[in-house]
Symmetry: C2
Subunit: 138 residues, 2 copies
Amino acid sequence: MLQDLDKTLQQKGVRPTAMRLLVLDYLLKQPAAVSLSDLEAYFHRADRITLYRSLKTFEGKGLVHSIDDGSGAVKYALCPDDCTTLEHHDLHVHFFCSQCRETFCLPKSRIPDIALPEKFKTEEVNLLVKGTCGTCSG
Amino acid sequence: MLQDLDKTLQQKGVRPTAMRLLVLDYLLKQPAAVSLSDLEAYFHRADRITLYRSLKTFEGKGLVHSIDDGSGAVKYALCPDDCTTLEHHDLHVHFFCSQCRETFCLPKSRIPDIALPEKFKTEEVNLLVKGTCGTCSG
DNA sequence: GTTAAAATGCAATGCCATTGCAGAGCATGC
DNA sequence: GCATGCTCTGCAATGGCATTGCATTTTAAC
């Protein structure tokens, strides 16, 4: 099973070390985006900095994207398959639940085009919806 | 002139102290959102904490809204007149220029409705566009 | 196996937001 | 005008998070 993860990393140009495989495996199992602190809490034997750099490496290679949900800590979530190093296709909506403080990717909710003033050029769009998620409102 | 500002503050339920009048006056003159550090740099004789609390008071009374543009520091900008304490109507787009690192409110670009999954409830929507602003791309 | 490059672990730093507390300023009632 | 109480201000301190430098270990290449 970790074999698959190994391949995934290789395909993205990330050297598959033990730590990185564990981190990737963990990320795959999460329903919500995770912060560095989440990771640190789970891998309590691992060094915070190593986890930090794993995430940064993943992000640089288009494996995960980072989300600033305003909670104070940046969170990370796996990218869809069509992300590349050069261009992140995380043009989906992120949802922050103010109850459980979890952040979810909503890949089905695409970000509509935004009309900008003359001469303004778009490079990136972040759309964050805050509210109550399905679980908490149920 | 500061008379008007005085009235503005009173109407919002904020006691018009000398410091607050100066801060409000400064905010009115800014074309872009300002961070606490900006304020501190401008009022180099004032205490950072007092400025911080002025902004927080303004925010609580619906005079300004805060913007997290991902630059690391929260920025503040004046609200349109129809903001109240209870409900912020800053449902406009914010634009962060990656060249000059300024953040602008784009009141004319309204945020479209976002389709959410079943049982998700929206409380607030933040839409941040990153790119190059008119001045920097000109 | 040797060697070079990359990853890790530890320490340290810096920035920003936030709070507690004491003193100063202001408004109100007498 | 003066005392009282509330609000604002300024200083000090704290805590969280991101980030970097450096020495060591691990991995890949030859």
